[in-house]
Amino acid sequence: MLTILFIKTTMKNLTTKILQHSKAIMVLTMLLTVLSVWVLVNKVYIETDLDEYMPHEHPSFAYSDWAEEQFDIRDAIVIAIENKNGVYNPATLQKVKGLTKALGKMKEIRKSDITSLYTADNIRGSVEGLEIDAFYKRVPKSDDKLKSLAKAVATNDMVHGRIVSEDQTATLIITKLDDNVFSEDFYEAIIKLSKEYEGDGDVLYVAGQPIIEGTMAILMPKDMKTMLPIVMLLIIVVLMMVLKSIKATVLTMVVVLVSSIWSFAIMAAMGIPIYAVTTLIPVLLIAIGVADGIHMFSHLQLYMRKNKNASKEDKISNMVAEMWKPVTMTSVTTAVGFLSLLTSEVYPIKYFAVFAALGVMFAMLLSLVIIPAGAMLFGLPKVKHQEENAKKEDAFANWAGWFALKITRYKTAFIIWTILLVIFFGYGASKVWINSSFLERFPDSNPIVQTDAFVNDKFMGTTSINVILEGKEADAFKSPEVLKLSEKMMNETIAKFDAIGGGISINDFLKRMNKVLNEDREEFNTIPDNSDLIAQYILLYEMSGDPDKLWEVVDSDFKTGNYNLQVKTDNSKTLEEILAHLETYKDDFKAIGVNLNFAGSGYTLLLFNNLIMEGQIKSLILSFFIVLILLGFMFKSWKVGLIGTIPIMITAVISFGVLGLLNIPLETTTALISSIAIGIGIDYAVHFIDRYKINALATGDKELTIMKTMAHSGRAISFNAIVVIAGFLVLLVSEFLPNQALGAIVSLNMFTSFIGTVTIMFIVLYMSNIYFTKKKK
């Protein structure tokens, strides 16, 4: 009791100090903000390389990194040239050659990383032996030469369907990229280059994982940049409507903006770049931060109406004295909700957690300092004292009171309905699935989706899974036993999944050589039975072809093989099914001393997303318990703590339930928001319970308490919900699906938290008799 008294007096003293030095505080805030903007302008940069997100110390990632290094597995940019009349004409072939050379001249690209019809090896049999050479050096002009080129490709399984589409209307130029060379400029340069080669019936498409990832990493912050002002504008408009005061609106927005700027400036000063995830911080801080201002001004307005003659200082002091506690409590619970994300293994998410929490703390501090100081300096928001307005307010109070009474009367029905809803959405939540597809985050009309669809339709697929088979000792991949099992695995897997376009491995080289060295007879399109013969074939290949191609499928000791599968989708469900099928060969390989593992971007992306989801679930549970403990501690009652978590539990169930029922997969952004919703959703309950407690202790009358609480807190909460929901619904027009989802989920969560607080939580609070039983004692 003494400590509370002490805190109360300190807060009062602090407020007095703030009011005395309001000018200095405003100037100091401004200076700090100017400094922050300076830091931001000079130090901030955006990280577009998704690889930076990966926890490289994680064993599965470390293994994949090793395999990627070993076999030079890298993501590639794929440029497709389509000519409806067929690609075997001098103009198109000239373009393949020209584009191959032009790409090789770009500083981001190494010449040896480009594969096209111009650079590909043509392994073929001749009457006497083996020939490995280029398909063409000089562009063939005569019909005969063009026809023989077409035939050479059509009879070579290693090129046919891979570099030239089976219907001969499209051909690919595949360029492997190093990590972190992708930039907006590079992307623009590639697009510009490919545009230059259009014409003569040729249409060019640019696709591939680096393009998708890069576009996403560039588009997400960009989209956020265009959406943020619209969200802000709408929130300002709605704030104006509910608070009916320019001053209050401006001060509330200043708090939110300054806290975002400070938080980002500290991040930039520490040398941490902006990741796609952290671009969510400003928009989230707006949603959370405005709540403090709304509750404070809402209280101030109610107080001013009742105490018309109180001094300016008194009015402001009362606002701080009455509201500092719920504002602090809600901010702490929200910050804890964010900080629970520190359990994630993904660094950008950890940064997100820290700087979002910091922003929330800034918003709290600024609300408690800038709002009183600003109100002191610029004057209180006007409260219209006209009859009409007072009537309106009274009408709201009456309505709120009526609502409170009605709800308590039909409490059983409400409880039953809530239980039914929880069961219904709980069932939906059980159907939620995770999708790590990047492509599916773009709307179907986006050119990147259409390009990818084109390439996937004509060729083997743009997503790769690499099965890494590791023998115990050197020359394992010259053993017919190992090779034949791997061939079985490849054939069965490719046959089982329509989504797999094909694959490439050492087997393809050996089969091709075996065939062409046996007079091109199809029955020799198999793995030879003799390991010496296999070794000699490989030597023969090395002596006649480009051995670097070989080292992409097997290591030079022949201990480890890289079995690549090309998949036509990056949909997580499909990838998971393929991986699960491949896993079934693990034991067979183990029996012959070979370990089976996975690598490649398709795999690591899946792994990465699963890791994020795992982290989300952990942090969801963790934040739930921390919030429970915090509430119990704040209200000094576990019972109240439990009651306070009711709205967020319902919010979480409904949020996941809607996703499940509508078959919308979880992806990183939506998952992140769902768990953050706990931290935000709890605020309504905190404000409501705090006011309920104050009213209960003041009146001792249950009916009066519920009516007054609903009129006071219910008012502020509904204002808050309306502002945030309206602001976030704007994101539904975003071009970027995760941002749309963000808008929908935040709106939905705010709505359910709000409804949950004023209905079911309210009922349980009412039925619990808490704060009244104590008095009776």
Partner: protein, 259 residues
């Protein structure tokens, strides 16, 4: 002013013509190239050969071979037998390299297949046995095919060298080569190869050479592909020259017979 300039140029020309020793003055780039080309070489020979391939990660693969070589008027014949690794033992390789522009003829005998196979008539720019040497790199190139320019003279590894730049008259696999040729031995101690975009592609260095039976013979040569950071070292040992090897050594029948 103009007069003065012309005068001074004339004076310089006059002085250099008189002062420079006749011998040095005679060495144009073209002459140096011809000296290298015409350097006497043995009629035939055999040796052990170790070929070490080193990839960008520093991983080495070693092949042990034994080779026979014989010079004819218009063709150079070469046969190589693999001694190790075991799974390619007795695999043999026969190569006829013609002095004119014709592609090499080459055959490989695979003991496991028990067949001699003709392989890629290979343009001269194909890599030899998956090494960093192309066939052309291992052969003598007629100086007639290039335009040669003497860039400078300098000392390399303690040897006095001419540095000549050779640019092909017709488009080839290299845009140019720059060679450091040892004065009076006419061995190129180092050659830089530039790709079609005139970027440095490969560097050949000769760390070991000696005179055997009066012939300057290269013992060890390193070829490094700087673009792929891949390296090949070829080292000869047990060299025997002028043995009077018979023609039957260089036939498909001999390939199948083995060493």
């Amino acid at each position: 002013m103009k007069h003065l300039k012309v005068m001074s140029v004339m004076l310089i020309i006059a002085i250099t013509t008189i002062v420079m020793p006749a011998k040095v003055q005679a060495q144009t780039g073209k002459e140096i190239a011809w000296k290298v080309y015409d350097r006497p070489s043995p009629k035939d020979g055999e040796s052990d050969m170790t070929m070490t391939l080193i990839n960008s990660k520093g991983k080495e693969r070693v092949r042990y071979l034994h080779q026979f070589l014989k010079e004819y008027d218009e063709v150079e014949k070469k046969v190589m037998f693999f001694k190790a690794p075991a799974d390619v033992k007795n695999t043999s390789f026969l190569n006829y390299s013609y002095d004119d522009d014709r592609d090499d003829d080459q055959w490989l005998y695979l003991p496991a297949l028990k067949k001699v196979k003709r392989i890629s008539g290979g343009s001269k720019d194909d890599y030899f046995m998956g090494s960093d040497f192309t066939y052309e790199d291992l052969e003598k190139r007629s100086p007639n095919k290039d335009v040669h320019k003497l860039l400078k003279s300098e000392t390399l590894n303690g040897e006095q060298c001419y540095v000549i730049e050779s640019t092909p008259k017709e488009e080839g696999q290299y845009s140019k080569r720059v060679a450091w040729v040892i004065k009076d031995k006419w061995i190129p101690l180092k050659i830089e190869f530039y790709d079609e975009d005139e970027e440095l592609l490969k560097v050949l260095t000769i760390p070991e050479f000696k005179q055997l039976k009066g012939y300057w013979t290269v013992i060890t040569q390193n070829m490094e592909n700087v673009q792929r950071s891949h390296k090949t070292v070829i080292k000869l040992s047990n060299i025997e020259l002028e043995k009077g090897l018979g023609d039957e050594k260089f036939t498909q029948r001999a390939m199948m017979k083995g060493l």
